[in-house]
């Protein structure tokens, strides 16, 4: 494995709920690594903390009494730092009987430090493609103007003309037809798929070291979706850009990723090479991943016209996280031997085969 470009260690992002006097533990002890040039796919159900992890990396979560702890080590050719250094100093907790009574946060100080640290990274070193391109773009500015602005800000192409040429080049590269015409369109004048292409152009135009794509194809039609996936695959082959790809759609993850992390209830339950994790064999896999894989309508179970194998129960409530394994309540592979452990103690993320880690008692005795 190449040296990790991004190394997240013990990341915890909590939000305080005043009415429940407790933390909503959206992201709870996440450890991830992305090597240079690799694509890491993050899968999980909604509410499993995928997007919050991404937003924590981008430093876009300062508002509200949210608490972020841990270490996000970012190391590119140009920059090397811990994105979360000293950021916890701005938060004071008042605890009573194990309950969080109040959270005091020096919002301004937090904001200032976070902005100061991120301002020369965001866009330039790390950029992000959001789920909803139309809402993420400025509706009052033409698409071309927005891309040009980003280029002028973050690259050496400072002159209007040079930046415009670059922007047009990128629009062409993401296969927008008649880029010169589309350059002067406002976001609402573009279709969903085209808007997503423009968004990708904007994210890549500053040649960032890390691209975070948060559900880049969700909400698009099947035909458009496959076009965008094709485009991402092509750009990946062409530019070798390091990507963190977040999606709940396993088929997209399997198409684009080198490594995969499966998230459940705010934490990573399994991580390893994409091939090992997404293979359809039952053994050597976290039970959640196995259950997730067979609950997708695939050609095999379509042919049988049988019922789908659903995971019973509901997604974990991240306020009252159980003491034991997070997946215990829905797990169908608990054996008598490990039952007690599953209920009481949370397993660590440990190697089950070289480079393949899982958080499950089945594999360590």
């Amino acid at each position: 494995m190449t040296a990790p470009l991004l190394k997240i260690e013990d990341l915890r992002t909590y939000f305080y709920s005043k009415s429940k006097q407790a933390f909503i533990r959206s992201v709870d002890n996440v450890n991830l690594e992305i090597g240079k040039g690799e694509t890491l796919g993050v899968v999980g159900e909604s509410g499993s903390g995928k997007s919050i992890t991404a937003l924590s990396v981008m430093g876009l979560l300062s508002a509200g009494p949210g608490v972020i702890t841990g270490r996000i080590g970012f190391k590119s050719d140009r920059v090397q730092k811990n994105l979360l250094q000293d950021i916890g100093d701005f938060v004071k907790l008042t605890m009573m009987d194990g309950k969080v009574m109040a959270v005091q946060k020096d919002e301004d100080g937090w904001q200032e430090l976070s902005e100061h640290r991120m301002s020369n990274l965001r866009g330039k070193e790390i950029s992000m493609i959001f789920q909803n391109p139309k809402q993420s773009m400025n509706p009052f500015m033409t698409v071309g103007r927005q891309i040009t602005e980003a280029i002028q800000l973050h690259t050496e192409h400072k002159s209007e003309q040079a930046a415009k040429e670059r922007a047009l080049e990128w629009l062409d590269r993401v296969k927008i037809d008649t880029p010169r015409l589309r350059f002067d369109n406002h976001p609402y004048g573009l279709s969903g798929g085209m808007c997503q292409r423009a968004m990708i152009a904007m994210a890549l135009s500053c040649e960032p070291s890390l691209l975070i794509a948060d559900e880049p194809t969700t909400g698009l039609d099947a035909t458009i979706q496959s076009k965008i996936v094709d485009l991402l695959a092509e750009l990946k082959a062409e530019l070798g850009i390091t990507t963190m790809l977040i999606s709940h759609d396993i088929s997209i993850i399997s198409r684009l990723s080198d490594t995969v992390a499966v998230m459940y209830g705010g934490t990573v339950v399994e991580t390893g090479p994409a091939k090992a994790i997404l293979a359809k064999n039952e053994d050597l896999k976290h039970p959640y991943t196995a259950a997730l894989l067979i609950s997708i309508p695939s050609s095999e179970n379509i042919k049988g016209k049988g019922n789908l194998q659903a995971i019973e129960g509901d997604v974990l409530d991240t306020i009252n996280i159980p003491a034991g394994c997070r997946f215990y309540g829905r797990c169908n592979r608990v054996t008598d031997k490990i039952k007690e452990k599953c209920e009481r103690q949370e397993p660590d993320l440990r190697d089950i085969s070289p480079g393949h880690k899982a958080r499950c008692w089945l594999y360590f005795d």
Binding site: D221, A222, R255, S295, P297, L308, A310
Partner: protein
């Protein structure tokens, strides 16, 4: 042979497009959201309706239930023509046909508890005593597999899957036999989606329901439907048994739809389906559909045949014709 519960004949729904307050006198342009659609649905059967967003799937569902007034055509439900019923007669009909809505955050009243929501639905069509209502609610909860403790909750306190179950329970509570399920699994996680799909299929077996299943998720449609109709810009372009549509598609559009499934592509990694690559995505305009075949501007076959006139001339718009048992396609050059 089971009987036909719903028959739709040449249904059209055109929406008037007004430009603004000052456009008096200008001719109203109309948007043909549904433009001449015919199909039928048998008892205990599921017909899947697929197509890209904006092709008129939902409008068909709403028009069949008479939530919209059809522009022309006929809808025959259970032997009676319901195209021109007045509101009083429609009210009675609502006890037999219902819709499972796409967005349950909007469809469930946020200020009512689940018990009140179900109670209202039960009593609106049937006069029952309180004890009977309680019994019926218990029965419904059992059918949709929902915990009794959720009855005192408000909709926002439920998860996506539970909300979906409430939506289904509410539809069942009136005793409907024919259901239009509009994107019932979109916006749900795969694990929850599987639960909902299983629930709908179990209910169909138990209660003998008929479904018009609208979805853009091709895999789910292929799984639950007996027959599938593929729509493009307000018209059905291909219709047949679901296995045939998925594996032996004849219309270029259906072919592109199914081969664009990312799962399929990743399995056949390396050998890219050429027809997908050849598909040219021209802009389509609902207000002025092209003459002739509507799909021609995006059609790979049209390109490869050297843009034959038959595809673009107004006189020869392709119509649905049978190519094999129950498999119909509207294309001059079926694959």
């Amino acid at each position: 042979m089971s009987k036909t519960i719903l028959e739709v004949i040449d249904l059209k729904k055109h929406f008037a497009h007004r430009k603004g307050l000052l456009s008096f006198g200008e001719p109203h342009r109309s948007i043909p959201a549904v433009d001449g659609v015919s199909f039928y649905l048998k008892e205990n059967e599921t017909v899947g309706l697929v197509g890209e967003s904006g092709c008129g799937k939902t409008t068909i569902g709403r028009t069949i239930l008479r939530l919209e007034k059809p522009t022309s055509g006929r809808i025959i439900f259970d032997g009676t023509d319901i195209t021109a019923l007045d509101t009083g007669e429609l009210r009675k009909l609502r006890g037999k046909m219902q819709m499972i809505f796409q967005d349950l955050d909007a469809a469930l009243n946020p200020k009512m508890r689940i018990r009140e929501i179900l109670n209202e639905a039960i009593t609106v069509h049937h006069e029952l005593t309180d004890a009977d209502v309680d019994k019926r609610i218990a029965e419904l909860l059992e059918q949709v597999n929902l915990k009794r403790s959720k009855l005192s909750n408000f909709p926002h306190e439920l998860s996506g899957g539970e909300k979906r179950r409430v939506g289904v329970a509410r539809v069942l509570s009136v005793g409907a036999q024919f259901l239009v399920a509009d994107e019932p699994t979109s916006a749900l996680d795969v694990s929850i989606q599987a639960q909902v799909v299983n629930l709908l299929r179990d209910l169909q077996k138990q209660l003998g329901l008929s479904f018009l299943f609208i979805s853009h998720d091709l895999r789910v449609v292929e799984l639950v439907s007996h027959k599938v109709a593929v729509m493009y810009l307000g018209k059905i372009v291909e219709m047949g048994l679901s296995g045939r549509i998925a594996n032996k598609a004849s219309h270029p559009y259906t072919h592109i739809l199914w081969s664009s499934l990312v799962e399929k592509q990743s399995r056949e990694a390396g050998k890219k389906a050429t027809s997908v690559q050849a598909g040219r995505w021209g802009v389509f305009d609902f207000e002025r559909p092209l003459e002739g075949c509507r799909f021609a501007p995006r059609c790979p076959v049209f390109e490869s045949k050297g843009r034959p006139d038959i595809c673009t001339s107004a006189a020869s718009e392709p119509v649905l014709r049978e190519i094999a048992g129950g498999h119909q396609v509207a294309c001059h050059f079926p694959l």
